[in-house]
């Protein structure tokens, strides 16, 4: 009797789980539908783009859109620019923010409390408010229309400092005390002890910084007017304006602009999701 009840309960639970999986799975498909549609449209002939019923596998395959994107447009240049800007922005950000985080998280000095409060309070101000003063600086320094205008401000991420400080503070102080008493310099402790122990945190800062920099739109929009310097986001906008109603071609451009991050995400999704979640949980 009892066993039968239990079995009934289990069967009911299993059925419930299957139904829930179907519903939630259907919802999840809606999240990827725009990507699938983009990908399939990029392989279609223009005449088939607006066909009904909506086909996710093209009736007639067309590879010319990609040939146009890679050979006849400025996309290769946009790629190189995005890679360059993102690389320097993220590498620089990692150096500068981890150093500051080491000072805030593991060292004592006069004025620390005041400076930390100052850092925290800047988080209140939305980044777009800083756009105008940055524009004034850069035009006075004549570095608008250079990649430096994009790289320089992103090196000083207050969010990155706060994030890494949390990570460093979780490392027990006993780990570094012995080295300290033996007379190791702080640079050594930072480089040889702290950084290796903070790898997951570094990964978080790296992935967040990478995503932010790669996807940044408003900064290149404001600071770059020379098309040769365009990154992928502003580049895609320009490409789309030029292609006007050639939607299959536009979708090929959109696919090309999304592919690197999506591939990186598919292979490292665990780190990506943990990084974004942990930044949120601690935030």
């Amino acid at each position: 009797m009892k066993e039968k009840l239990n079995g009934n309960y289990k069967a009911k639970r299993l059925a419930g789980r299957i139904i829930a999986t179907v519903i939630i799975g259907g919802l999840a498909l809606m999240f990827v539908f725009p990507f699938l549609w983009m990908l399939s449209t990029s392989f279609k002939y223009e005449i088939d783009v607006m066909e009904f019923p909506v086909r996710l596998i093209p009736k007639n395959w067309n590879f010319k859109n990609y040939a146009t994107v890679f050979l006849k447009s400025d996309f290769p240049g946009y790629y190189l620019n995005s890679i360059k800007v993102t690389f320097f922005a993220v590498a620089g950000e990692l150096c500068i923010t981890t150093m500051a985080a080491y000072a805030f998280g593991r060292l004592n000095f006069r004025g620390k409390k005041f400076l930390f409060t100052l850092y925290l309070s800047t988080m209140m101000v939305p980044g777009q408010v800083l756009l105008l003063p940055k524009y004034i600086y850069f035009s006075q320094l004549h570095i608008t229309n250079t990649h430096l205008a994009l790289i320089l401000p992103s090196l000083f991420s207050v969010f990155g400092v706060l994030l890494m400080r949390q990570v460093f503070m979780q490392i027990p102080f006993e780990y570094t005390e012995a080295a300290y008493i033996d007379g190791a310099s702080h640079l050594r402790i930072f480089w040889n002890l702290i950084l290796p122990l903070a790898k997951p945190g570094l990964m978080t800062t790296l992935l967040l910084g990478f995503t932010w920099s790669w996807n940044d739109y408003i900064n290149p929009l404001v600071f770059l007017s020379n098309e040769e310097l365009f990154t992928l986001t502003v580049g895609l906008q320009r490409f789309q304006e030029d292609a006007s109603t050639n939607y299959a071609l536009i979708m090929a451009g959109a696919t090309v602009s999304l592919i690197p991050l999506i591939i990186l995400f598919l292979f490292t999704q665990k780190y990506f999701i943990e990084s974004f979640a942990s930044a949120g949980v601690k935030g």
Partner: protein, 301 residues
């Protein structure tokens, strides 16, 4: 009584290291964040066309703010920002919460489903906005052809070319883009909840719906507040998708504050006026985050 203490050799060394490690960041933060914040505040009370150089800078007091009140672009932007936030935040957070609850307990294939819902968030808004623009193309775009042919909607919405539907389209797209992010934050917090409470609820015969409203929501209240605050602050900063899809149009039906700032500063070169709009943006965000913080103090335990 505070006595000025003499620092030992080790403390002195530590202090020097502290300043040295902080210095690069401190210089940059001062130049690129702290001074700009002060500059923005001051610029809001000036009139300045950068084409005329620094000589064109003129102090005008409250005039910019007086003009803002009658400026259709800014007033529409503020209204659209409010409509956007009041629909985007509840939609995003409630979908994220339901999704997280299911992913936490009730479904198979958790990892691929979580991955699928998170994919839009890492994609650049520019690229996905471009895709949505074509998806919601009023004449025979895939969404509308499904609406007419499958659901027999005689007169499907004109989406981004209609002043009635454009903002709704933007909201839908933004919710789609961000749900996955709030879902993983909520899910991470949900996985940290004590399991005993759920077990005893199950023993007492509580239904999943009762469990959700009586246990999950109250126990998640502080992370829910965190997500709501984050989503609200971010929602007021909306720009990319609007500038790509509609550029604020048709008319002023989708214009938002950041876009007004961009327009005045870089299309009309009214830097002072744009800075005044930026101050309005800051104040709006400040007011909403203060209200949410006060509400959190009252409602969570």
């Amino acid at each position: 009584m505070k006595r000025k203490r003499k620092l030992t050799q080790i403390q002195l060394r530590e202090e020097r290291a502290g300043y040295a490690f902080l210095l690069p960041s401190l210089i940059g933060t001062t130049i690129f964040i702290i001074i700009p914040i002060v500059m923005s505040l001051l610029l809001g009370f000036t009139e300045w066309n950068p084409m005329k150089g620094l000589a064109g800078l003129e102090f005008v007091g409250m005039e910019n703010f007086k003009n803002i009140v009658d400026d259709e672009r800014v007033v529409s932007a503020l209204r659209n920002n409010l409509i956007y936030s009041f629909s985007y935040v509840p939609l995003t957070i409630s979908i994220a919460l339901v999704l997280a609850t299911f992913l936490n307990k009730y479904v198979f294939f958790k990892i691929p489903i979580r991955m699928m819902t998170f994919m839009p968030y890492i994609s650049s808004l520019v690229s996905v906005a471009t895709v949505w623009m074509v998806l919601l193309y009023p004449e025979s775009g895939p969404v509308n052809s499904i609406l007419t042919n499958v659901f027999h909607v005689a007169d499907p919405p004109k989406w981004f070319v209609s002043s009635q539907w454009a903002l709704i389209g933007i909201i839908m797209m933004s919710v789609w883009h961000d749900v996955g992010y709030y879902c993983i934050i909520l899910l991470a917090n949900m996985q940290g909840l004590p399991q005993e409470v759920y077990e005893s609820a199950a023993v007492d015969g509580a239904s999943p719906i009762q469990t959700f409203f009586r246990i999950t929501i109250p126990m998640m209240s502080s992370s829910l507040f965190f997500c709501i605050t984050l989503a609200t602050i971010n929602s007021f900063k909306i720009f990319d998708q609007v500038n790509i899809i509609t550029e604020g149009g048709p008319g002023f039906s989708t214009t938002v504050l950041v876009q007004a700032i961009y327009y005045y500063a870089f299309k009309e070169y009214k830097i002072g006026y744009a800075a005044a709009v930026a101050i309005v943006l800051f104040l709006v965000i400040f007011v909403f985050s203060t209200i949410l913080q006060k509400a959190e103090e009252k409602l969570t335990y």
